[in-house]
Every structure is written in C-alpha cells, then in structure tokens.
Subunit: 332 residues, 2 copies
DNA sequence: ACACTCCAAGAAATCGGTTTCGTCAATAGT
DNA sequence: ACTATTGACGAAACCGATTTCTTGGAGTGT
C-alpha cells in the first residue's frame, strides 16, 4: 500500500505537505495538483491506523447489543448506522449475548481501539465503563437503564404495557393474561406492571389479579410457547394475552395456531413489532417500539458528545405507538 | 490510559521488557513479576492501534452483508462471530444495502484499518477487492458468487428449488406456482430454475410450464405480498407456491392469511427459514438454508488463510435440508 | 585462567500518519 | 528603502506498541 512518503517523493514535496493537502490546510494550488496527481497515480489511501494513533480517535462507533438475531435490535442497529453513516462514522456491531463478561471485553476493545464512542444496550446495571469515561469517550445507554450517570435513550415501558392491555379490553376481551419475561429484568417488569395496573382496574376480578394469568418465561420464542401452552391448559383460560416482547409473541401465536385458534378469536397484543409475522400485520395488536428511532436518537446524542458537548447527562424517553388489531366479530 | 512506558517506569525496566512480558518472550521471573504488578496497578491495557500500526495486522474481521434486518444474514453473522470469537478475533459487521458503492467504501475501510480479512456477501459480481488482495489480505465470498478467484462458500440453490417444489408435489399439490425475486440475481434464478425443472416434469401441463405461474417480485416482504395477490387473482389459480426466499415467503403467507386461507389448504414451500413465523413451524415446508453454517465455514476458511494457508482458491457448496410441512387432509 | 557461548535486557529504529516549530520569501506599512 | 507581518512548506517530533541490534555479565570447556 502506498504511503504518504511515496506520494511526497513522487510529487516532489514533503510528507507534511501531502498531509496538509489531504486535510485541507493551506497549500499552494500548484502543489495541491502535484500531490493529487501523485496520490491518484499511486492509488493512495491514507492508513487509518497511523492516523488514529496520532489523533487518538477514529471515526468508529461501537454498538453493543445482546442479540443480532432479534429484529428489535437489528432495527435499532439500522437506526444507529444510518445516522452514523451520514456523519462519516462507521459502526462496529458487537453481540454481547447478555453476558457481562463479553460486554466488558468489548468495552475494553472499544477503548483500546480508540473508538470515538459507544452505544450500549447494557446487559446488567453495573457494567464497567470507567476505562472509557476516564478517557472522555462518550457512552450512551439505549433501551435499558444503568446505574451510571450517562446519556440514555429509553422507551416508556410502563405506558407500552398499559396501551397493549387497554387495547385488548377496548376490543371487548375480558380475561386478559400476560406472558412476561423472567423476573428481575426492568423492561419486562415495567411492561407487566402496566398490564397489572390495567387488569386490576378493568378485569373481571374486582381489582384482584389472578396470579395464574401472569406467566414468567424466558424471553425467547420457546418461552412464549411454553407460557401460552400453560395458559391454554388453565381451568378458566384467558380470552386474550399480552406478551412483553416480540419473540414471546411469536411463540404464543405459534401455539395458538397449532391449537387451531386465530387472533380475533383470541386476543393477542404484543409489546414490540412482528416484522416477519405470517399473519396479516393488522390481525394483531402491536405496540410498536420505536427501535430504529431509538437508534438514531442514541447516535445523535453520541455524535453531539463526540463533537464536544459537555452538558449534564440526559435521558430521553420515547413512546411506543399502538396499532389496534382486529376485534372479535362476536363481541361487536 | 496507561502506556507501556509508564508501566516500564513503575516497574523499573525498559519498555522493551514490558513488551516481552506481554508477548511471552524470555524475561527473568523476577522482572515478569515486577511488570505484572505495575501493569495491574496502573490498570494497563495495551493500545491496539499502536500494536496494529507496528504489526500491520489486527484481530479484526470485516463481514459485509446486504441487510442486517434479514434473519438469513443475521444467522450467518452469528456463525461468523462464534467461530471468530473462539479464535480471538472480533467481527465488524457492515451493511452494504446491496449498494456497490457502499461495498467498495467498506472494503477500503477494511484495508486501511489493517483488518485481518474480509467475509463478503457480494452485491455484484465484480467488486473491487484488489486493494486487499494486493496486500495479501484474504477475502472469502459467501452466499453469492463473484467473478474473482477467491475462496467461496455457497448453497446449492438449484437443489434447494428442486427440493421445495418436489415436496409440494409429493404432498399432493398439482398446480405449483413460484414467487421469485427480480431477474438477474443468481441465487433466485437458480432456485426458480429448480422449480421450473420439477414443474415441467411433474406438473399438469405435459411438460409445459405456465408462464403466469412464475411471478417476479422484489425480494422483500411487500414483493411477496404483491406476487401472491397476483397469483390468487388468476383465472386458474395455483394450489401451492414456492417462494425463492424467506421474506417473500412471509409476504405470501400474510396474503393467504388475509384471504382466510391457512397452509395445508394451500401449499407453501419456502426456500429459507422462517424463524419468526407465527404459524406453527411445521405447517409450512421449509428448505432450511444453512445460514449459520455458511458463516462458520466462511470464518474457518478465512482464519486458515490468515494463518498463512496458500492453497488455491476453494469453493465449498453446502446443501439445504428440507422439513416437510403438513399435507392437505383432503388429498390423503 | 582465558576464550567462547548464551541469554537477559536496554537503546533505538520502525510502522504511517499529523502537527509543531522554524525558515525563508513575498507583501504590507511608514 | 527598511522593518514588520504573513504565508507556504520542510525538518523533526510525536502517538504507543514491537523488534532488531547491541551490550554486559554469567556460565562452560580446556
């Protein structure tokens, strides 16, 4: 690969001048032409590693997400990339598998790679980002809270749970269950709290929430399947269900379909999007999480910090948008 | 961030010795201890940028895919990452949007970032990877062919199309249509050729393939929707359909569901996986493309090249595995 | 006891850019 | 006409590792 020295030699100038041409500093028009010609001729591309070592920064942003196979996170990644791209930054996507050790490893890499900043969907509340913040590298949390004093972009999970549940009652269902993720994860707890809040007010139990109507499962497709199967096996099964994320929604719908039940017959509201649902998209109530927007917003905040913004840490809370599914014909 | 010089000063040795300790060269046990203690105390992490500038390589692999939001490519990415991870490499995921310009940009970045190698799902047949190959950086093509003489990992697309179509005839359907992607893309052309081959032999047209039974659409969900709607509107509609990828399959199934038709009633075979199908996974015939395996295989080949393997370019062709969907009760 | 080998470890070069510093010439000001 | 100012541009330092070269001291053989 050609270096700046070879370009300088060919153009008959010093390496410093070549650098100045590349970076738009003051150089006489005639030397600019000489350097451009030489660079062209040698097919010169500046070595980013060398540039980075000197500048102590790069146009690289790390994005740490728990799972690239989850459409929610890929949509988020898309948002980050679009925004970063247009600002001349590239995005390095890293899978943490919700494993704090992997997360720490990637954070260290981001640091020692001199990346410009990090957008993090944290796997735990107390990740160690001191290495980065010590060096003034901005970190933005997205989708999940940390105990740290950093910028963050969140979704109003409680409101999302409330919206999903209310929509089912509005559609005429009365026995609304909930398929929630494991205990101890804030996002699912908040969403199921939203469910609980609505059910205790509008449910048929006079303010009492049936404990068997909330199922905790792992938050993946198989978890949703198991939970839905359990709900259908109850003595007094529900007539509708809220799932606190997209994947469990998929599992629940699969089990329903296997039992010969199709949505308006049994109400389903999903907190999250089902981009690859094989049902008609408007058969199901979806609380669309603004995944992509979450990404662009986080990227924006990060880019502002990279540009030198030093205002105190901000938290932006975005709201989800509901699309109402079909309503059951009999109840009309 | 602490540097090797500060560690050296604290330990009372030279920077060279610190480097030797870090890289396992011969150093007396007592100095090893001194250096380790100093490094620990300063919370030292070696600067990868500096290391990379000197070594002219890094433990970074670029993976260029057309679309992170497509589950096929995320599964592939997962495979690459798993393999890379276990060999101590990190993966940089880049979206090309099937845009040759973006692809070229990322290839240049991979080059000037001194990345160890590139795995590429090429957007066109004639991408320019000379910058990389000139510097002896291995490139492996995956999923799609290039005109270049490099390692590649492919799927037997023709066989996949044949398998999908045959499975529908085996299940008792007789008027099998095909929803294919746009003309000119090898993967979809091959798969639809497989369909044509089976239909001309087993279809009800005595070797003649009805031209209206092959619909070309864009290869996304909306394309599948449009194509399925067109098929249903025919005077003599098909009783089953093959789609040449996962996303068009989703679209087709949505339209069927909206028309009140559920799979065993109308045969659907998808070349590709439907990880988020809301139907029971075994209601539909799927030709499972080994996406993840494609990724691990490509990563393996790349790692071998990085390690110095210089044998002539290889092409590995993987085969898809069929899972038969439910068969229509009436035809039994 | 003396020459020779061997090995640990420091000094210095290196990777390829960017940037500071200093020089020299051209222009402006009085 | 002579000094002050400005601007282009080369020389050299710098970023933080790794590695070659070199040196000095310990160990070995006769």
């Amino acid at each position: 690969m050609a270096t700046i020295y070879e370009v300088a030699a060919l153009a008959g100038v010093s390496p410093a001048t070549v650098s100045r041409v590349l970076n738009g500093a003051a150089v006489s028009p005639e030397k600019v032409r000489l350097v451009r010609d030489a660079a062209e001729q040698l097919n010169f591309t500046p070595n980013r590693t060398a540039r980075r070592l000197r500048n102590q920064t790069s146009e690289l942003i790390a994005l740490l997400i728990p799972d690239v196979e989850n459409p929610f996170f890929t949509a988020l990644a898309r948002g980050v990339e679009d925004r970063a791209q247009s600002a001349g930054f590239s995005v390095v996507l890293c899978n943490t598998d919700d494993d704090p050790a992997k997360e720490t490893r990637y954070l260290d890499i981001a640091n020692s790679e001199n990346m410009a900043g990090v957008i993090l969907a944290p796997s735990s509340e107390d990740g160690d980002i001191r290495h980065l913040t010590d060096r003034n590298r901005p970190v933005v949390a997205v989708d999940r809270n940390t105990g740290l004093n950093i910028d963050s972009v969140m979704v109003d999970n409680r409101a999302a749970g409330i919206a999903a549940t209310s929509a089912l009652f509005d559609a005429g269902y009365s026995r609304v269950a909930c398929i929630a993720g494991p205990l101890g994860l804030e996002w699912t707890e908040e969403r199921s709290l939203g469910w609980r809040q609505v059910v205790s007010r509008r449910g048929d139990g006079d303010g009492v929430v049936r404990p068997e109507y909330i199922q905790h499962a792992n938050y993946r497709v198989d978890g949703g399947r198991a939970a839905m199967a359990a709900l259908l096996a109850l003595d007094n099964p529900p007539d509708a269900v809220v799932t606190t994320n997209n994947l469990m929604g998929v599992g629940a719908l699969q089990v329903l379909s296997e039992a010969g039940i199709t949505p308006p017959e049994f109400g389903v509201a999903v907190v999250g999007d089902l981009p690859f649902s094989t049902l008609s998209p408007d058969a199901i109530t979806q609380v669309h999480l603004p995944a992509r927007h979450l990404g662009t917003t986080a990227a924006n905040m990060l880019l502002e910090r990279i540009a030198g913004d030093t205002q105190p840490a901000r938290t932006v809370v975005l709201r989800a948008a509901l699309t109402q599914g079909a309503t059951p014909a009999v109840r009309r």
